[in-house]
């Protein structure tokens, strides 16, 4: 450890207590970002402590990376430097729960699942469903704008966050938004920090609005021998009056992962899964209508109600978490205009086949989001595997770009990230993004290098 970091360590220990600062690779290795092990990890216990920690890092020129549940740490490019990881697990209190006004304020390190449990007691929910909800923290959810199948009806974090508190890169604390559902008192600063990936400061507190729990829910799964039947049905649903909460396309590999939850496998099939919530009347009506649409297109219907429906969505939401671990696997998210979603799924699968890779793909059919995981064939030499991945990803990114979309790597080995930028090329708005970063973090100390265009 350099001299500066040694003195920073002592300062941090003074600020948060010895037991909340760790140094040395044997303890900090668990907080490596893309293989870069931080010199120090620090666990502030209050928002003011976060501010003091950030100010101390700024004063000694140490680069820091905030860490929530760690579920999205694979995103982005390899950081340029990681001196200090600021772990927010102790920042996990409820600040204020106001069920009558459908809102709650929590500290950023609160796990999403725990928040959901607490508000469920008042028959409320936050309709955001990122993968791995048990580990995702509310702060991380916001910083990475993570989302899941339910974004079709409910949108993403940017639609649910009412206010946040942030520690800026110089250690100053600010508040953005508030706790009312309409707020135009100055700029909408929430939007600046949502999905800023820790490059503009550390989110320490979040206020979100909530929804009353629906009276009923059900899920319908349509199994089709090919993608086109499932995709055509999805198109019909989107053009109808139906208001599914989620509408997912699953390829045979993704469907395989779900076999245990579904209670049986359906080899070779594609699936369209729709989730409905609401009153009993509207749920029943939608189930009936969708069953008809599926049958008309030659699919077979499976219906799941209430707890079974919940179980199915858990499985779908976390499907990629159940994929086999493989150091060479790549996980990416492709975003395209809605009508292109199924086409991208076909392209991702074809691209994989063409390069001798295996793909599992799953798409939010009504939102324009495709998740794809690529695996090398067994026994392929590492160099060759990485090269093939690179080719496949770049071709897919190119195709997404032609329709104004993007491909973002969610998880990949540092070796692959050296050859493929995690975000792709920045567009005409990059100059302003750079200027924003410079205004807020002139020293470039917050998560340096992880974001778009080297920010």
């Amino acid at each position: 450890m350099s001299h500066d970091l040694a003195s920073l360590r002592r300062q941090l220990e003074d600020l948060v207590g010895n037991s909340h600062v760790d140094a040395g690779p044997e303890t900090t290795a668990a907080f490596a970002v893309d293989g870069m092990i931080p010199a120090l990890t620090v666990r502030p216990g209050t928002q003011d402590e976060v501010a003091a920690v950030v100010a101390a890092c700024a004063a000694s020129g140490a680069a820091l990376v905030p860490w929530g549940g760690g579920t999205a740490m694979g995103m982005g490019n390899c950081p340029v430097r990681v001196d200090v990881v600021v772990h927010l697990d102790r920042l996990n209190r409820v600040v204020e729960f106001d069920p009558d006004n459908l809102c709650v304020t929590v500290e950023a390190g609160m796990p999403l699942a725990r928040l959901q449990e607490m508000i469920a007691e008042k028959k409320l929910l936050l309709p955001l469903d990122p993968p791995d909800g048990a580990r995702v923290t509310v702060g991380g959810l916001v910083a990475a704008n993570l989302s899941g199948p339910r974004r079709l009806l409910h949108g993403t974090a940017r639609d649910w966050v009412l206010g946040i508190r942030v520690v800026l890169p110089d250690g100053e604390r600010i508040r953005c938004g508030g706790r009312v559902i309409k707020n135009v008192s100055g700029y909408d600063m929430n939007k600046l920090f949502i999905r800023s990936f820790g490059t503009l400061g550390i989110i320490t507190e979040v206020t979100v609005k909530l929804l009353p729990m629906p009276a009923a829910q059900a899920s319908v799964l349509g199994l089709f021998p090919d993608l086109s039947g499932a995709a055509a049905t999805a198109e019909k649903v989107l053009a109808s009056f139906l208001l599914p909460e989620a509408l997912e396309l699953l390829d045979p590999c993704a469907l395989d992962i779900l076999a245990p939850a579904l209670g049986r496998s359906a080899p070779g099939n594609f699936a369209l899964a729709a989730g409905f919530t609401g009153s009993r009347e509207t749920v029943e009506r939608q189930v009936r209508d969708l069953e008809t649409l599926i049958s008309e297109r030659g699919g077979t219907v499976r219906l799941f109600r209430e707890v079974d429906s919940v179980r199915i969505w858990d499985a779908v939401t976390n499907a990629f978490g159940a994929l086999p671990q493989d150091p060479l696997r790549v996980l990416c998210m492709v975003a395209v205009p809605i009508a292109r979603t199924a086409g991208m799924m076909a392209s991702a699968r074809a691209g994989a086949t063409g390069s001798g890779l295996t793909a599992a793909t799953l798409a939010h059919a009504g939102s324009g989001i495709l998740w794809a995981a690529f695996f090398p064939a067994a026994g392929l030499p590492e160099d060759e595997a990485v090269s093939r991945m690179v080719t496949t990803l770049l071709a897919l990114r190119e195709e997404a770009a032609t329709v104004g979309g993007s491909l973002v790597i969610q998880e990949a080995s540092p070796r692959l990230k050296e050859r493929v930028d995690a975000w792709g090329k920045p567009g005409s708005s990059f100059a302003i993004m750079r200027r924003i970063k410079t205004e807020f973090d002139p020293q470039g100390l917050c998560s340096p290098g992880r974001f778009l265009g080297g920010i």
């Binding site: 639609d159 600046l192 509207t282 997404a400 924003i436 807020f440």
Partner: protein, 466 residues
């Protein structure tokens, strides 16, 4: 003279006929729906993104401020050229460029009126959800710049939830694309940051919005109360029962009387308040939802609940609500619209206090507002020719905003800060909060040419450190 050179430069971009600089013309652009006035040096009609970029570059050459102007209906002085300069009149960029039903998006020029977009989408079975009560005369660009709300925003969110991309002429004249047809664009959410920036981040020249199917069914109710408190309690009771109606709007007696005089929609003149409640969605449970709401209203003291029998009845109810500001204008030479917001459950308390403020300053304050959002619009009536009265109005307005903040709310729900609420910003923002917002402003507009002199209060005097 520098002034002539500026005008000459503008003319070279858009032609002689599209630049106004005669005093008579300029006078028409010195005010908006707020109460202040300031004359611009020139008004320019623009027709394309390139023209806007050309105009902004000329402004840069001459260090002239510029202010984009849509319908001029904003209530906070957003379009008043506070430091003079050039008003960029957007109203001719009013085309619907593309309706893409497969992708559930529409591409619109910013000068299009909100209602025109609605009218163009409806025959296709689609709608754009944010619907400010001023939708007949407010443009999409103005909606974007103010992050406007509207009666349907309780269930569906405000402008920012429905704008997914835009083309912007930056304050230095560069053209940039934010967001687009595809979701989750990489990098910072500049679309989200731009929405609500009140013309201070540049000129939006194209907007991509989310469109959705028209609802399969709609039911509209009018609940009539003899007590304003019972009416506002009902709002929270409906939400507590687990329902999210599309709208929950409220009007008090003075507003009802004004509306009846000008629109004749059959509102009872003797009641204390009415709630306009609308539920929409799949038709299967609308009857049941309506029944449940009618029951709740009655339990909370409604003396009568009417359910609109057909589209004509429904349209009449909405004509009354949408015409409320206009109708009140017949009661008085001028009024100040407050726009404070509170947590919904604080509505009964805040309404009572607003009435007390009215008594204290001897002012009439009718109320018409988005109750579901907790967004008040006390309208403080006065005569602009009476300076003493105007001073009282400003004090009363400030007191009402302070009340909202005290109850956990904020100083503006949807009308923006503009010139009007600069001094109230410190009620909700710390110096650090203000500084951080100014950082964003500097990043977008380092020369401070885009609608300068708005939103931010003058820096506080700081004692010199020896």
């Amino acid at each position: 003279m520098a002034q002539n050179l500026l005008i000459e430069g503008l003319r070279q971009v858009v032609g002689e006929a599209n630049v106004l600089d005669s005093p008579v013309h300029l006078q028409l652009y010195q005010y908006d729906a707020y109460l202040e006035e300031r004359r611009p040096d020139a008004v320019v009609f623009v027709h394309s993104t390139e023209e806007v970029a050309g105009i902004v570059r000329v402004c840069n050459q001459h260090g002239a401020p510029f202010v984009p102007r849509g319908g001029g209906t904003n209530l906070s002085g957003g379009t008043i050229p506070f430091r003079g300069g050039v008003v960029i009149e957007m109203i001719r960029m009013n085309r619907l460029l593309e309706v893409d039903t497969a992708n559930l998006r529409a591409r619109v020029q910013p000068g299009m009126f909100n209602l025109e977009l609605g009218n163009a989408l409806a025959p296709l079975g689609f709608q754009y959800l944010p619907d400010p009560a001023s939708q007949k005369a407010a443009t999409l660009g103005g909606n974007v710049a103010e992050n406007s709300g509207g009666p349907h925003c309780f269930k569906y969110g405000v402008t920012t939830n429905h704008v997914v991309g835009m083309t912007v002429v930056m304050p230095d004249g560069e053209i940039a694309e934010f967001g687009g047809l595809a979701p989750d664009t990489t990098g910072y959410d500049l679309t989200g940051v731009f929405v609500g920036s009140e013309g201070t981040f540049g000129v939006c020249t194209e907007v991509v919005v989310r469109i959705v199917r028209l609802a399969e069914g709609v039911k509209t109710m009018l609940a009539i109360y003899d007590s304003i408190e019972r009416g506002s309690e009902t709002v929270s009771a409906i939400v507590a029962a687990g329902m999210i109606p599309a709208t929950l709007e409220m009007m008090d007696q003075l507003v009802i009387q004004a509306v009846e005089q000008s629109i004749h929609c059959g509102l009872p003149l003797d009641c204390a308040t009415v709630l306009i409640i609308e539920v929409d969605g799949l038709k299967d449970d609308l009857e049941a939802q309506t029944e449940a709401i009618v029951r709740l209203c009655k339990e909370h003291g409604a003396r009568e609940v009417r359910v609109a029998k057909d589209d004509a009845e429904r349209a009449l109810l909405w004509a009354g609500r949408r015409g409320a500001f206009g109708a009140v204008a017949r009661l008085t030479p001028s009024y100040l619209v407050c726009d404070g917001t509170v947590p919904r459950t604080a509505l009964p308390a805040v309404l009572k206090k607003v009435a007390e403020v009215g008594e204290k300053y001897d002012l009439k304050i009718p109320n018409v507002f988005h109750a579901g959002d907790g967004n008040l619009h006390p309208l403080i009536l006065f005569d602009w020719r009476n300076a003493e009265q105007k001073a009282r109005v400003m004090k009363a307005g400030m007191e009402i905003l302070a009340l909202c903040v005290e109850l956990g709310g904020t100083i503006s729900g949807e009308h923006g800060v503009g010139l009007e609420k600069m001094d109230s910003m410190r009620l909700v923002l710390s110096e650090a909060d203000i500084r951080s917002q100014l950082r964003v402003k500097r990043a977008f507009d380092p020369k401070d040419l885009a609608n300068p002199g708005k939103i931010f209060p003058a820096p506080q005097e700081v004692a010199c450190v020896p």
